[in-house]
Symmetry: C2
Subunit: 121 residues, 2 copies
């Protein structure tokens, strides 16, 4: 690994479980004009939504990315879904930007920090 | 975004929910000698564990990474925890490689694919 290390701002400061996670894994298509600005705007929009506890996101050099957003409740996720679909419909961008994506909604039950905290899992 | 797009091998082919996800977000320390080989070995080891349904992983240029592994049951995760701690103890690498990590265990309740599949969330 080379390059400048990140910082604590990369991590979401989530409360004690339970809470919810939306795991969004995606591969950009080769036709990704305008994606960077849209992706950043959608990320900021999620963080500003009611019930959003934070988010973590990274994209690799080949266009594969993972964004995990954390939410207080499933109702908050459904409200975000409606908002995101509204914005996406306005922008007509989702089908073009993504070659493929997987979206999983999960209930976080346990959480640990390290290495100064507890063990590996 | 520039660079060669990834391919379907980046995505985990998970079954219908429910199943479990281990969301591991981490920041490499600047002293990451040996990490790349160890990280790849741990990833392959997870995929070979009983009950592992797949995994998705990406690391950005500043050393921040997200790996999500998927599991049939919590018992499978606990068995993997024991195995991973055993390997980590042998290698003495975890405290040195990671500046920080967050590990969250979650139960996946809903999942969607796109853009050819269903909606955004």
């Amino acid at each position: 690994m080379s390059g400048e290390p990140g910082d604590a701002a990369d991590f979401a400061r989530t409360p004690e479980p339970p809470y919810y996670a939306v795991i969004f894994t995606n591969l950009l298509s080769s036709d990704d004009a305008g994606y960077a600005a849209m992706g950043a705007a959608m990320f900021d929009l999620a963080l500003a939504q009611p019930g959003c506890l934070g988010a973590e996101s990274v994209r690799g050099p080949r266009g594969f990315g993972i964004t995990v957003s954390y939410w207080q409740s499933e109702a908050d996720i459904l409200a975000w879904k409606a908002e995101a679909q509204h914005v996406a419909a306005q922008k007509h961008g989702i089908p073009r930007w993504y070659a493929h994506y997987e979206l999983r909604v999960a209930r976080v039950e346990r959480a640990y920090s390290g290495p100064e905290g507890r063990g590996l899992a």
